[in-house]
Symmetry: C2
Subunit: 131 residues, 2 copies
């Protein structure tokens, strides 16, 4: 999730399809995990998510794009797996490229101006008052 | 909050001070509201937040930067207000400039590649299955 966290800065890019998130940091991480693990359930376990939650995230992605991003690997059986489709690969690559473009753009004078004003850590909390 | 939402894209930039958010979309909106309303309580009301939550957000900001971002307006009394400090103005301006730089960087071929692959709206949800 903190792939593009630069020092104190955290960036998040989400693409919406209606009111649903078509891709964002969590779904991109899930696509990476499916690509690596070769199955939806193993990817979910690797990310510490329930199978139901993992499946719902995949289903949302599969409904939000021109074509599904994840499909069952042919063959079936008890160890039936899943893999990224060509559309899934294109979406993941373009999303990572977008994140990289944002990270590059963030590394400029605006962030420098903010960083020099940041305290090293928060000072202790005061007690509430009116103001 | 959707100030820099471009079509299907939503961007979020947060700066952290330790584990606390020193500035992000919500806190920037609150600074704008304090600047406009001239008081913390009126700003919170304008954003539909409780006074306690509003005050805690201001307190976090005031502890996270080299100097406080918001201070009580001199004079006091029942209608005592609040305003941005010079540091608060600099932080808000630099954060808005960072958001603008990100929005500009996002408006490129990576977003175009994603947008052409997005469906117009999500297709209906399937029933869960293994894959």
């Amino acid at each position: 999730m903190d792939r593009y966290r630069q020092g104190p800065l955290k960036l998040k890019a989400q693409l919406f399809c209606g009111t649903e998130t078509a891709i964002g940091p969590g779904k991109a991480e899930l696509l990476d995990a499916i690509d690596r693990e070769g199955s939806i359930s193993a990817a979910g376990r690797a990310m510490g998510m329930s199978y139901r939650r993992t499946w719902l995230l995949v289903d949302t992605m599969n409904r939000c794009w021109a074509e599904p991003l994840v499909e069952a690997t042919a063959g079936g059986g008890a160890s039936k797996g899943a893999h990224l489709t060509p559309c899934g690969r294109r979406v993941l690559d373009a999303y990572r490229a977008l994140e990289a473009a944002l990270a590059k753009a963030a590394d400029g004078p605006e962030l420098e101006a903010l960083t020099v004003l940041l305290a090293g850590g928060p000072r202790p909390r005061r007690t509430p008052g009116r103001g």
